[in-house]
Every structure is written in structure tokens, then in C-alpha cells.
């Protein structure tokens, strides 16, 4: 019992509670029908937000002002170019993935070069970069819709033991992120930088190197997510990353990561991603129109942050 009470001190518990309440409210209406389908859909769609969100979380942990706005453009470019390279051939799956990762590395490298060399605030640097990346995606796409290789399309849309494959991948990435964050010196470094960059520098932490790796990591995760999303939805679309801009920030913050940086957690991302999907499907189940649904989504985000938040604002 005591352990249970202790858990309530954890910032991520709130997002899980919220997700569970919404899930419960939804199956109440359907009367238990479609529970499995709803849960699987939630896991599938949450997986994409989780992968993007983890990268964004690492960046936000670096401290005030650190945020990566190039995430949607990177997803789109990686998805488009990878599908083009694979050209529906099953043998090209690995080269395609490699290319997506390379694109992520390239975008991350450019992002951090702008931040460091030109001393541009990360928001503006990644925003300008996203314009360029988006243009590159438009240029390569040319309105073509290439289908993913059949093996990959099947893999991303099916389940293993009832769990969607993409959710399993997202789970593996989360474990890796958790280990990086909690068990390695790198994780300690980004938290330290987020709490106070001058102090971290004084303590001899390689601040520039750590920030560089973090921006690379975020861009790579975005490109992997774009690769998977393009295969899942049967082809890349130019606007496929658009909703992940706000989504990636929302899941990080609702998940209990401090916006001021220096304090992050992986489980919260899962709770928040499930929650964000379930809210929309709950409001859909209730048969509400698009307008009401948007308003409710917004009000719920604000209520969650008011309930959970208020520890340290971004000031």
C-alpha cells in the first residue's frame, strides 16, 4: 500500500491515470464491444507519438528554449525518400531504413550546426531547418505515392500475440531510451545540462558534445517514426508529419517531463500518447463533431497540465 502511495509522487502516474479513465469511459459506451480493437488501435497510434516524443523529450530535457520543431519535416522527408529508394522491393527494406536514419543524422547535424555556429535559439534554428527539409520533401515527392514493400506493409499493420508490431518496436526504443536516461552517464549529463548549463560546464561535462548527440538522437527517432508511419499508412504524404509537431510536445509535457528541463521520464510518454489517442476516439465514440472534439481535446490538455503541473514552469 505504501508503495502504491509512493507511486503517486511520480509525475508520470497522472498521464497513465488519465489514459485509463478515458479508455474506461470509451468502453463503457460501447458496452465492452471492440475493447480489443480499441486497445490495439491505441497502441498502434501511440507508438508513433512515443517514438517521436522520446526524441523530443531528450531535447526538452536540455533546458529552457530547447525544442525541435523540425520533427514533422524530418518524418516526411525520411518517409518519402525511404519509400522511393525501396521502390516496393522487399530486398531494399534495410537500405531504406539505413537511408532514413542517415537523413535523420543529416537533419540533426544541420540543426545543431545552426544552433552552435550561428547561436540561433533552437526554436528558430529548427524552424528554419524544417522549412528547408520540407522543401526537400516536396521536391523529392512530386505528388507520387509509392507503396511500401509488401513485407514491411504487412509487418507494420499486423500484430504479434495480439500486440501491434509497431508498438513492440516503440517499446524496444523506449527501453533503450530509459537505459540511456537512467543508467548511463549520458543521461545524467543531459539532466545536469537541463538543470544548469553553466554549472554543468563548470563540472567538466562535455556540454556541446552532449547537446549535439541529443539533437542527432531526436532527428533520428523522428526519421524512424516517419519511415514506420509511411509504411503503416501505405505511402508517404507531404502532410503526414504535420500533427506530430504539437503532438510530440504535448506528450512530453503531459507525460510529466519538466518543460524547464533537467527532469524527464520515459513511462509518462506512453501514458500521454495513449491518452492523446484515446481522447480523440472517446469523443468520436460519443458522436461529437470535429469542432466540439477539438475544443474538448484542448480543455482536457489544459486540465491535465493544471492537475499534474505547477512544479516548475518555463520561466
Amino acid at each position: 500500500m505504501n508503495a502504491l502511495v509512493l507511486q503517486f509522487g511520480k509525475p508520470w502516474i497522472w498521464s497513465w491515470l488519465a489514459a485509463f479513465v478515458v479508455w474506461f469511459l470509451t468502453i463503457m459506451v460501447t458496452g465492452g464491444a471492440g475493447t480489443l480493437g480499441l486497445s490495439q488501435a491505441a497502441l498502434t497510434f501511440a507508438a508513433f507519438s512515443v517514438i517521436v516524443g522520446i526524441g523530443q523529450m531528450f531535447v526538452i530535457t536540455l533546458g529552457p528554449g530547447n525544442i525541435d520543431l523540425s520533427v514533422p519535416a524530418t518524418m516526411t522527408l525520411a518517409g518519402t525518400v525511404a519509400l522511393k529508394l525501396m521502390n516496393v522491393e522487399n530486398g531494399m527494406i534495410l537500405p531504406g531504413l539505413l537511408l532514413a536514419v542517415l537523413i535523420g543524422l543529416g537533419v540533426g547535424l544541420c540543426n545543431y550546426t545552426l544552433i552552435k555556429a550561428l547561436r540561433i535559439p533552437p526554436i528558430i534554428a529548427t524552424l528554419s531547418m524544417s522549412f528547408i527539409v520540407q522543401s526537400a520533401a516536396i521536391w523529392t515527392n512530386r505528388g507520387l505515392r509509392i507503396k511500401p514493400p509488401s513485407v514491411l506493409a504487412e509487418f507494420t499493420t499486423t500484430n504479434t500475440l495480439g500486440v501491434p508490431n509497431v508498438a513492440i518496436i516503440a517499446f524496444l526504443i523506449s527501453i533503450l531510451a530509459w537505459i540511456l536516461l537512467e543508467k548511463t552517464i549520458y543521461g545524467r549529463w543531459i539532466s545536469a545540462i537541463g538543470q544548469s548549463m553553466p554549472a554543468a560546464r563548470m563540472a567538466g561535462i562535455p556540454v556541446d558534445g552532449t547537446r549535439f548527440v541529443t539533437y542527432l538522437f531526436c532527428a533520428v527517432l523522428a526519421s524512424i517514426s516517419g519511415y514506420l508511419l509511411a509504411c503503416f499508412s501505405g505511402g508517404a504524404a507531404l502532410n503526414m508529419g504535420a500533427e506530430y509537431l504539437l503532438m510530440s510536445i504535448a506528450v512530453v509535457v503531459i507525460g510529466g517531463t519538466a518543460v524547464a528541463g533537467g527532469d524527464s521520464n520515459v513511462p509518462g510518454i506512453w501514458g500521454a500518447s495513449l491518452f492523446m489517442f484515446l481522447v480523440v476516439s472517446m469523443l468520436n465514440t460519443y458522436g461529437l463533431g470535429a469542432g466540439i472534439r477539438l475544443i474538448m481535446t484542448g480543455l482536457i490538455i489544459i486540465s491535465v497540465i493544471m492537475l499534474a503541473g505547477g512544479r516548475r514552469g518555463m520561466r
Binding site: L118, I123, L294, I295, G310
Partner: protein, 315 residues
């Protein structure tokens, strides 16, 4: 005092310089733009963007960031094209309520010490939902007086230029010359010392947000005056454009260092960049990307100038 003035002036040099360079380039490419009508066409869309940039600047002056700007301006545009035309009293009441809501957001953010990014992110869904409820499909019509105001042809200079100058002067007086403006910037600079001096931080933040709401309302009205009809997604770009405008104009994310005149110039520069690129006959695929490149170049220039400024000081 003289030193402060010159320091502020230096911050304005780069925005002014980049605007004139861009303008010269446009005139060189297309001499016919160097006329009353040409200038009006070039800068027409700058008026709503300038107003939105001023609104964003006011929020940034208290160290917050408004991610709901685009959705809010769209919402106002929808109200203007429907209620403000058919039932002006109700329309004005709705807009007044929206400004009050902005003030309330400021109070909530302060009292609960919430991250402004997340609260305004949630609000962007709310405004977007309200806009969809008002105008599910593009439509509505601009009120005649708004249309008249945006298309009136004053002597000597076109409306777009006159309006930009008026906006810059009014915002300059509010932010730089009134005691209220000093208070708002003080909250951004050092909240605790302003508090110790006996001022109410809540009131200052609420006023900053209310003023931001007011300018954003004006942006929405001006936008409908130009487009003659509205759409729930009409101004979504404004969120990022307004942030970029403030930064281009010499503003900073933290510390209450903002410049209203610079912000208007930043907005003009962003608008002009679009026209410049179409005059260059750049493939439409790369237009967004080139806008990003222009943003980067201007910021690089600013870095160079800041270095020069520092070197001067050291002497």
C-alpha cells in the same frame, strides 16, 4: 540614457538593413514594383502578420510563448466574417470575451506556475474547435467597413505602409514609453525584483496577455478585410511566422528584450521574402526552403553585428 538609446538603435540596424536589402533586390528584379500599387501589393498581407507579431512580442516580453496565435487569429477571422458582419453587437461581445479569455490565460499561467507553451498549445485546439464550429466550410463575408479600411488609398503612401507605421508607433509607445510597458518588460527581465518593488505580477502578466489578445483580434479583422472571407485554418501559419518575426526584429525569448518597431520590420521582411522568391522564379518546391534560408542568413548577419557591438564596447 544616451547609451540605452544607442544600444536599442543598434538592435534595430540589422532588421532595417535586411528589409532594405530585400526591398532593393525586389526593385532590381522587378522595377515595376517601385510604385504605389506595386508597394501595396508587396506589403498587403504584412498588416495582419505585423499585428500578430506585435501580439506574440507582448507575450514574449513576459518570457512566455504563445503557440495558439495562429488558431486564435483564425478564430477571430471567422467571427469577423460571420457575427461582426451580421450582428455587430454580438460580434464585438465575442471578441471582447476572447480578449478577456487571453487575460484569464495569463492569470492561470501565473497563478498555477504552468508552462505557457502547453497551456497555449491546449488553447490552440480550443480556438481551432470554435473556429470550425463557426465556419465548418470556408465562407462568410468581410464587414463593409473592414473591407473599406483595408482597401482605402491614402495619399503619398499605400495603406499597407501607413498601417505598418501606425502599428509600430502605437506599439512602441505602449511597450517602450508607458510605465505599463516598463512593468511588462520588467516581469520578463527580473520577475522577483519587480515583485519586491511592490508591483502586482499577476496584473502585469494579465495586461500583457490582454494586450496580446487585442492585437491578435486586430490581426484577424485586418486579415478578413484583405481576404474578404474566412476559413477555420486561414491563419495557422501565423504562430510560427509571428515568433520568427519577433526574433528577426531583434527580440529575445527571455529577459523582456523586445522591440516593437523591430517586430513590425521583421514581419515586413518575412512577407517580402515570399514575394522576392517568386520574382526570382525559384521553383515553387523550394519556396518554403528558401524562406528558411533567408531566416538563417538574417540571423547570421545579426550574430556578426552583435560581435562587432561587443568589440566596440571592449575598446
Amino acid at each position: 540614457m544616451t547609451f540605452r538609446l544607442s544600444s536599442d538603435a543598434i538592435r534595430l540596424v540589422i532588421p532595417a538593413l535586411s528589409l532594405s536589402l530585400l526591398l532593393a533586390a525586389v526593385f532590381w528584379l522587378q522595377p515595376r514594383a517601385m510604385s504605389y500599387i506595386g508597394l501595396n501589393l508587396l506589403f498587403n498581407l504584412a498588416v495582419p502578420i505585423a499585428l500578430a507579431t506585435i501580439a506574440q512580442m507582448l507575450v514574449m516580453a513576459v518570457n512566455d510563448l504563445d503557440l495558439s496565435m495562429g488558431a486564435f487569429v483564425s478564430f477571430v477571422a471567422c467571427v469577423t466574417a460571420t457575427f461582426l458582419r451580421d450582428a455587430p453587437v454580438i460580434g464585438i461581445l465575442i471578441l471582447a470575451g476572447a480578449v478577456a479569455a487571453y487575460a484569464a490565460i495569463g492569470v492561470v499561467i501565473h497563478l498555477r506556475d504552468l508552462p505557457s507553451i502547453v497551456v497555449t498549445l491546449g488553447m490552440s485546439f480550443v480556438w481551432g474547435g470554435l473556429a470550425v464550429l463557426l465556419l465548418p466550410a470556408p465562407g462568410g463575408r468581410a464587414p463593409d467597413w473592414v473591407r473599406w479600411l483595408m482597401t482605402v488609398k491614402p495619399p503619398l503612401a499605400p495603406m499597407a505602409i501607413v498601417a505598418s507605421i501606425i502599428i509600430a508607433v502605437i506599439a512602441h509607445f505602449i511597450v517602450k514609453r508607458s510605465s505599463l510597458g516598463v512593468l511588462i518588460r520588467g516581469v520578463g527581465g527580473n520577475q522577483r525584483s519587480v515583485e519586491r518593488a511592490g508591483w502586482s505580477i499577476v496584473a502585469a502578466r494579465a495586461t500583457a496577455y490582454a494586450l496580446a489578445g487585442l492585437f491578435a483580434v486586430l490581426a484577424g479583422i485586418a486579415l478578413v478585410g484583405l481576404t474578404t472571407s474566412a476559413d477555420a485554418n486561414i491563419a495557422l501559419r501565423y504562430t510560427l511566422l509571428s515568433i520568427a518575426g519577433v526574433i528577426l526584429g531583434g527580440g529575445e525569448f527571455i529577459g523582456g528584450r523586445v522591440s516593437p518597431i523591430g517586430a513590425v520590420i521583421g514581419a515586413l521582411t518575412l512577407t517580402l521574402a515570399g514575394s522576392f522568391l517568386s520574382f526570382l522564379r525559384i521553383s515553387p518546391d523550394w519556396q518554403i526552403g528558401a524562406q528558411g534560408a533567408i531566416l538563417i542568413i538574417v540571423l547570421a548577419l545579426r550574430l556578426m553585428l552583435n560581435r562587432l557591438e561587443k568589440r566596440e564596447k571592449r575598446r
